[in-house]
């Protein structure tokens, strides 16, 4: 057992090393350099062309004139000291940029996870309770249909119908700036108002999974003997659901919560770009555009570590909750 957990740690270490190396190499493989600015796309933000001298100076300043293996060792060394580097474009430590953006992404993803889990489970339970009846059947069809639509497509249609068409929600961003809020509550409402559509898009596309899980485990539990006994004892419906059934359905649902964090990241990147939400997804797209290596690497590293962490937690929680695994 101990050997196994040691293996597990070595595995994680190797994985992280591979990712870091990939992370270092990939952005550098993209042709083009960050200081060559020859064009623009709008008359409003026309380019300032840097002279050769300036470019050389910046190359040296950021150590990009060094041979690649040297850059690699410097990068690894700095990473070990917890330094993610300095943005070439934003002229700010990468960690600061990421810390300013991360909360928005985390806020969005966590809200979506919590909401989709809660709503999914509840609907799943309702479905299981009415198993094989029309309620279950129509719910099933409905949920399966929506769960298969990718979140950014849901986001797009929400954006156009509810924000652009009906004008019910803001088109972009996460907060209204420089607004004079009457109270803390109106500020909170402002944040929520901006987050509703993106979070809804993510939630809807992840509802199906939890729904199915909730429905299946509930059904299994409902067929168990002890519940039949509880039933026979004349316990009330809600008591049966909440005391017994839900408790047993919890395990797969919790495991799924952690695991779905990873897949939500991909969806979140796109959804953020649909709503111009100021999280890591929009930052990533922008950094790829301007070839800001340190920022790309930073985002990638943070995202990967978070996903790894979620996986690790899933393992842990699973062991904690399921006596069969820990024994």
């Amino acid at each position: 057992m101990q050997h196994k957990s040691r293996m597990r740690i070595i595995e994680y270490a190797i994985t992280i090393w591979v990712i870091i190396t990939l992370n270092f190499l990939l952005p550098r493989l993209i042709p083009g350099d960050p200081f060559l600015v020859l064009s623009s796309q709008e008359a409003e933000d026309e380019e300032i062309i840097l002279s050769e001298e300036q470019r050389q100076y910046l190359f040296e300043y950021y150590g990009l004139d060094q041979p690649i293996h040297k850059q690699y060792f410097v990068y690894m060394g700095e990473l070990l000291r917890g330094n993610l580097g300095f943005s070439l474009y934003y002229k700010q430590p990468v960690s600061e940029i990421i810390i300013s953006r991360l909360p928005w992404t985390v806020f969005m993803v966590i809200s979506a996870v919590v909401l989709s889990t809660l709503i999914g489970t509840i609907i799943g339970c309702i479905s299981a309770w009415h198993r094989e009846k029309w309620v279950d059947k129509s719910l099933f069809l409905f949920m399966i249909f929506f769960s298969e639509i990718p979140s950014f497509l849901i986001g797009l249609i929400l954006l156009f119908v509810f924000a652009a068409g009906l004008g019910l929600f803001p088109l972009a961003g996460a907060v209204t700036h420089f607004a004079d809020f009457q109270s803390g509550w109106s500020r909170i409402w402002d944040v929520i108002h901006h987050a509703i559509l993106p979070v809804t898009a993510l939630t809807i596309s992840h509802l199906g999974g939890t729904y199915l899980l909730g429905r299946n485990s509930m059904t299994t539990v409902l067929e168990k003997d002890y519940l039949r006994t509880a039933w026979a004892k004349g316990l009330s419906q809600s008591r049966i659901i909440f005391r017994h059934a839900l408790k047993n359905a919890l395990l797969p649902i919790v495991t799924r919560v952690f695991i779905s964090l990873g897949s939500l990241v991909g969806g979140a990147i796109l959804v953020e770009n649909v709503f111009s939400y100021p999280g890591l997804g929009t930052l990533m797209r922008q950094s790829v555009r301007v070839h800001d290596y340190p920022v790309i690497q930073g985002i990638f590293l943070v995202v990967t570590i978070l996903v790894l962490l979620a996986n690790f937690l899933a393992d842990l929680v699973y062991k904690k909750l399921d006596p069969r695994v820990s024994s």
Binding site: G32, S39, Q41, I48, Y57, F86, Q92, R101, G173
Partner: protein, 487 residues
């Protein structure tokens, strides 16, 4: 108070901003240069109240404005100018750097500096109008200017003080400087607020001026609440022919055929929905003071293009719509563009196909495109730029160390007459004679078409006159200093 659409363009110092116009315009609210170029192209005083050049044009003496003071109350002196020059030689700024041609900057007395340049150039003063002076007492102890973003870094002599900046949200807050040396700023406060959707923000009174597209102009027309100002800009998309990669393109009439084949008016109508001016082959915008309307125009004519091609020996023997050379090879070009101009490339492809030339679009991201453009790794390339009017990019002369000065070299274009004329106009002090040289230059360039200007974008701006009606008619940039202050 005026609110405008924000967005993060970096810390508005010569070292902190991003290499884009909005960043440098914000910097110009805070900092001053010695002189400026006014809307008619004349040199006007800024930090220097008067100046004179020596007979040989190699030495300039500037008298500094005694009223100028730094935002923190310290006086502005010749020391600052000398310091800025030396500092910027050591640490090269992103924007606002001193002209390369300067050899030496010397303090004569507290209010006078003498600047020596290496070669006479009539454009020296206009080149130095972008050179920003920074305070010695603040920057002398700074050894990592790229990282210097404390509040002092934004101490300048200009009309506005920066009171707040947020990188995360892309917000800037400027307040008028009561001790400004020039005339009183007309606007007390300028706020740049992030507005993901500027139109919505404008309609909800969150910002006071926006740039719009023709399709939504009708929302503001015939409404006294709004005022629309339309500008023609020199920002343009241009098509470059790489004669090194494709020897066929070295043939002048081949390039002319392409110019005939592309319907520039349709590009304007489709891509910009009419809000642009079709490009003139002589490179300069029709409203440029040096514009020569007599230069070749190549009005759209597919038959003319076909005729030129057939004179060159290209035939469509098997009638599949694509011309072949005498070896029977299909006439096909790769057109390099970035994702922003892919749509434009598509229309060009259609136009050239009508003339029997096949185009394969090769769209990459902007940075990659820029790198390949510089290295000459393309056959045809579309470049969108606000800097393309400078004809120096068609010469083999290295000017002001700009990366585009390699363009002529990259595309394999060389015309000694163009080089000579360009140098001659640079040295010509008589404006009339200079204009004549420029006319000649454009004629040659239009005849040679080493690059084809596709169109110049127009800018449509809407504002609320009730909030502020002092917007400049000379610049379409809402964040430009001339909207808020007469120096």
């Amino acid at each position: 108070m005026i609110r405008l659409a924000g967005g993060d363009w970096g810390y508005p110092t010569p070292y902190g901003l991003y290499p884009r116009g909005p960043g440098s315009r914000k910097m110009n609210l805070i900092f001053d240069s010695l002189v400026k170029t006014d809307s008619s192209g004349k040199i006007a005083p800024k930090l220097a109240s008067e100046w004179e050049s020596s007979e040989d044009g190699l030495t300039y003496t500037f008298k500094l404005n005694p009223k100028a003071k730094w935002h923190d109350g310290k006086p502005f002196t010749a020391e600052d100018v000398v310091f800025t020059y030396n500092y910027m030689k050591q640490y090269i700024p992103v924007s606002g750097g001193c002209p390369d041609s300067i050899k030496q900057v010397e303090k004569v007395d507290d209010q006078t500096v003498k600047i020596k340049i290496d070669e006479a150039n009539v454009d020296f003063l206009s080149n130095s109008s972008s050179w920003i002076i920074i305070p010695k007492h603040i920057w002398e102890s700074v050894t990592d200017p790229n990282n210097f973003t404390s509040a002092e870094a934004a101490v300048g002599t200009g009309p506005y003080k920066l009171v707040d900046y947020s990188k995360e949200h892309g917000t800037y807050h400027f307040v008028a400087n009561p001790d400004f040396w020039g005339s009183k700023p007309r606007v007390k406060e300028i706020k740049f607020v992030p507005a993901g959707e500027t139109i919505l923000a404008f309609e909800q009174n969150e910002i006071d001026r926006i740039s719009v597209t023709p399709d939504i102009l009708s929302r503001y027309e015939n409404n006294p609440e709004y005022k629309i100002l339309s500008y023609e800009t020199s920002w343009a998309y241009r098509l470059y022919f790489n004669m090194k990669a494709r020897p066929e393109l070295a043939e002048k009439s081949f390039r002319q055929a392409i110019a005939y084949a592309i319907d520039r008016q349709e590009l304007v109508d489709k891509i910009e929905r009419g809000a642009a001016v079709p490009g003139s082959p002589g490179v300069l915008h029709p409203n440029n003071e040096f514009y020569n309307s007599k230069a070749a125009q190549y009005t759209h004519n597919t038959n003319k293009a076909k005729e030129l091609m057939s004179n060159l020996g290209y035939k469509d023997a098997d009638a599949d719509g694509i011309l072949k050379n005498n070896k029977g090879e299909r006439l096909s070009f790769r057109l390099l563009c970035d994702d922003g101009s892919a749509r434009l490339a598509e229309v060009i492809k259609q136009h050239l196909a009508q003339a029997g030339i096949e185009v394969v679009i090769n769209s990459v991201d902007m940075k990659t495109r820029d790198a390949r453009f510089k290295d000459g790794d393309f056959e045809l390339c579309i470049n969108g730029s606000g800097n393309g009017e400078d004809l120096s990019e068609l010469t083999t002369i290295k000017s002001e160390g700009k990366a585009t000065s390699t363009t002529a070299q990259a595309i394999g274009y060389q015309n000694t007459e163009v080089d000579e004329l360009y140098i001659a106009q640079q040295k010509e002090k008589d404006p009339k004679k200079r204009k004549e040289i420029m006319f000649k230059l454009q004629q040659i360039v239009a005849d040679d078409v080493p690059k084809l200007t596709l169109y110049y974008k127009n800018s449509l701006n809407v504002h609320r006159p009730s909030v502020y009606d002092g917007w400049s008619l000379d610049t379409y940039h809402s964040d430009s200093r001339s909207n808020f202050v007469d120096d």
